[in-house]
Amino acid sequence: MNPFHYVRASDTSSAVRALADQAAPARFLAGGTNLIDLMREGIERPRAIVDITRLPLAGIDELPDGGVRIGAMVRNSHLAADRTIRERYPLLSQAILHGASAQLRNMATTGGNLMQRTRCYYFYDGAARCNKREPGSGCDAMDGFNRIHAILGASPLCIATHPSDMCVALAALDATVNLAGPSGTRTLAFGDFHRLPGETPDVDTNLQPGELITSVDLPGSSARLPSTYRKVRDRASYAFALVSVAAALRVEGGVVRDVRLALGGVAHKPWRAATAESVLLDHAPTPGAFARAADAELAPAVPLARNGFKIVLARRVIIATLSELAARGAR
């Protein structure tokens, strides 16, 4: 691993200042579960590290609208176990528990989870061509082993997927992300935080240089929805999603009054299935309606040589997940 300069920050403003003062490239370090691995592989080569693990951002606080503010330094395991989260947003707790291992969840933070980079094999392999790792070099995944790659929103330059489970739940729950940077604070809707690859697959997020995630807010309007997270993977535990579905469904008077649907493992970002939601809203929650919604969402899906199964799988998991929620509501 390349040597680097290490700075430990004690509060948000000094962390932002410390990063701005360092020679580029500089990185914030939280749990380290992804960044340290990437540094060891030589994919990330920061000249300076600003350690933010001791920032006072580890609280889970209630908001006036019935929502919750999750500090960026809250560990994934603490978040999944939190009483308020399990009561108001069980979908988030479930999604977190379906990711990684207990050891990693004890280390990984809320902010760091959003900053994870793809697990595309070709991104990790320094001998392979990768437009995300080295812009303009090409993409060896395109004609390679692309079984785990994207079916939605990909570009000719990049077919990588976002690896997070937690973020799929945050997308479904209409989270917002609070940021602090050299020119002040701002808030991004969760759907605007991650990017599709387009012409610049090396840019994963819409963070500005030097910006730090300080917290993630969940709105009261997303609280206590009947919800579930279903993840399909190659083994029963400790594997990234082939397809995952975060779903919430509220049925009143025989019609769908609120529906949230997000997909993991299918795109460069957590994929909010807005098309499927609009098909379902104000309609009866029938298997036929769920199938129509899934088909509408997946109509633009493009299979690669080895991942066509994901389109079928996503359709089935969407229908199964919504059917489970509808049956639960009918009981």
């Binding site: 040597p3 399990r86 379906h98 990693l104 535990s237």
Partner: protein
């Protein structure tokens, strides 16, 4: 830089570069060879240690991040010359073959049992229900999935942990 690491109840001042992992600091600087380096990328769990009672992968860390935290390794589990109950159960049930993953398995199991007793949910138990009173096989497999055993001694490992949990060994 000089970093003070508190390991198994003792403080050690070590002179290391910031890029040194906690795993390498424990093994190479403090000569605590019980903690093992398997994959060095957070996939196998052989490097599992306890920090303030919680299990972590010591390979995916910089030691400097864990300054002043209470670190416990396999060498620190016994008390007054008596092996930890989880250690005794691993011996009783032959929870190993080559032994390389064993320190990580045992540290992980010690913390896992504490998590389970404290009501930590898992992907197997529903997140809106309390943790199950019975640490059944599905629960145990899920909660220990971060520790791999290439010898495949999982049957003995499971029996050892179930005994340490106070449950029936099936």
């Amino acid at each position: 830089m000089t970093v003070v690491l508190r390991v198994n109840g003792r403080s050690h001042s070590v002179s290391i570069e910031p890029r040194v992992s906690l795993l390498d600091a424990l093994r190479d600087r403090l000569q605590l060879m019980g903690t093992k380096k398997g994959c060095d990328q957070g996939a196998c769990g052989a490097c599992t240690v306890l920090v303030d009672g919680e299990r972590i992968n010591s390979c995916l860390t910089f030691a400097v991040q864990y300054e002043d935290r209470e670190i416990r390794t396999i060498e620190g589990l016994s008390e007054d010359g008596q092996l930890h109950p989880v250690q005794r159960a691993f011996i009783e049930h032959d929870g190993f073959q080559c032994g390389y993953c064993t320190p990580g398995q045992i540290c992980s199991a010690v913390a896992m049992l504490a998590e389970w007793r404290n009501g930590m949910p898992s992907a197997v138990s529903s997140s809106d229900a309390p943790a199950p009173a019975d640490l059944n096989e599905d629960e145990l497999r899920e909660r220990m999935s971060g520790n791999l055993c290439r010898c495949g001694a999982y049957v003995g490992i499971r029996q050892a942990i179930q005994e340490a949990a106070g449950g029936t060994v099936r």
